[in-house]
């Protein structure tokens, strides 16, 4: 029999994961406590069943998929209801949080005597017909999630303890989103100094793979930078406050804050980034 799975919260990623699982036969619960009507509608469309926290605690598996800043509070809320149940659910933290944070969450869930798995999601929310995103999982209970593979998720086990999957997610995002960060900063500075065409030409000549990546990443990042701010602070925390590279990621947080406010406002920088990428694509043809 298919397991009962709870996914909190029913955001863009959470509801798309729920849709894939329910389409493959899983019963998927969620909590709509304090959520908007729009979210309730999205959850229902994804095949999710609204439930009280006590019922969430009675599921076989609980996936926590929330913005990084809400991960600890959700773990505490779950632990408070799980502690009262005899049969414990397997709790999976899928959030872009740093290793220390996920170790803290493991402790919170452990205080309710429930098994815990660390997970990191890499890629876009599940789309019909596409395989991704990748669900990297680590920790001694990671193998108990094999059922999620049968239910259509691209599950990949990282050999290592709780923390290894989050470390992978942090380091991967630190490279890919970091490249978007330096690329956007330098393209804008070159454009304002009248050197953007020369920069594009030199990259095309000596670093064509980087130019191709930036041509995709620069327009794609614009509506996402507001979410990347907290993720960059998590990466700085992953390195630790005294780490000689943590300032780089504090800097990215500040830069993405600027780009997010530009995108919400007059979008001057957003338009310049799109223009650079559009010209780059043209020359690739």
């Amino acid at each position: 029999m298919s397991p009962t799975i709870a996914i909190l919260a029913p955001g863009a990623m959470g509801s798309a994961v729920a849709r894939r699982l329910s389409e493959n036969g899983a019963r998927v619960l969620t909590s709509l406590k304090g959520r908007s009507e729009q979210t309730a509608k999205r959850a229902a469309e994804a095949g999710m069943i609204a439930a009280e926290d006590a019922d969430v605690a009675g599921c076989d598996i609980i996936l926590s998929i929330v913005p990084p800043g809400e991960a600890v509070a959700l773990a505490e809320r779950l632990a408070a209801v799980i502690v009262r149940r005899e049969k414990k659910p397997l709790v999976v933290d899928c959030n872009a949080v740093n290793v220390d944070t996920v170790l803290g969450i493991e402790e919170i869930i452990g205080s309710a005597q429930a098994p815990f798995v660390d997970a990191g999601i890499i890629g876009f929310p599940p789309q019909p017909g596409a395989k991704g995103p990748a669900f990297y999982v680590s920790g001694e209970h990671a193998k108990d999630l094999a059922v999620l593979k049968e239910l259509g998720l691209d599950l990949r086990i990282v050999e290592g303890p709780v923390g290894a999957a989050s470390a992978l997610k942090m380091s991967y995002a630190g490279i890919v989103k970091g490249l978007a960060g330096i690329g956007s900063a330098m393209v804008l500075a070159a454009t304002k100094a009248g050197a953007s065409d020369a920069l594009r030409d030199e990259l095309a000549l000596s670093q064509p793979a980087i130019l191709a990546r930036l041509s995709t990443a620069l327009p794609d990042m614009i509506p996402k930078t507001y979410r990347w701010v907290a993720e960059m602070r998590e990466i700085a925390g992953f390195l630790g406050p005294d780490h000689p590279a943590s300032q780089i990621y504090e800097g990215f947080a500040r830069w993405f804050e600027h780009l997010a406010s530009d995108a919400k406002g007059d979008a001057v920088d957003a338009e310049l980034l799109k223009a650079f990428a559009a010209k780059s694509e043209k020359r690739e043809v």
Copy 2:
């Protein structure tokens, strides 16, 4: 008749440029004032002729090729001797300095009534048989350097005023060396958290071009990071102190300082970076 060219200083880049120019028929002067015997030997081997500053000022073209922190002092030293000559040399600043710095240097050279060109060198010192590096030049006198192309340099005119070539150099280095910076920081953090194999696998799958770039860049950067520290501070200055992205480049300066001291010391991080790159190359085969 071939022009007389002065190149200061006869460092690794300066003497390699001199060799190419002298092999193609140019008479190349340099100053050995205060330089070591080893440098004097390297200069002689590159076909350079030792000269006093007064003779340097009498050349047709002067190329300034020094570490970024020495560019302004050299300009002042040159202006002091050029001001006394009736026939003025064309002075070219080839250094990795920010736009404000090169505008200041233009003013210093202008105070001696000499024409000035902004240049940025992208690539390794000239090697026998290879075309590079690229000499990007900008400003109204850039076209007067066409003779350097005939003498074997890969000269490329950037349309734009003094500052455009330096902006290109800054933004290009900010992307390429920045990627090495984030890549090295994240690969080391992933390795220490036991997630380096998973990181390599995920990059190979979803970002193969970035993995290929890091496999080359991570071992290559180790002996160079000590020079990149000042260059990262120039890029922070290029953005300006109040720019929302300048902290990223201050962060890179600090990170490269750490990697430089690691490389000079027990090289723990250097070995981990080499190990990651070696495994990546293996899987590409």
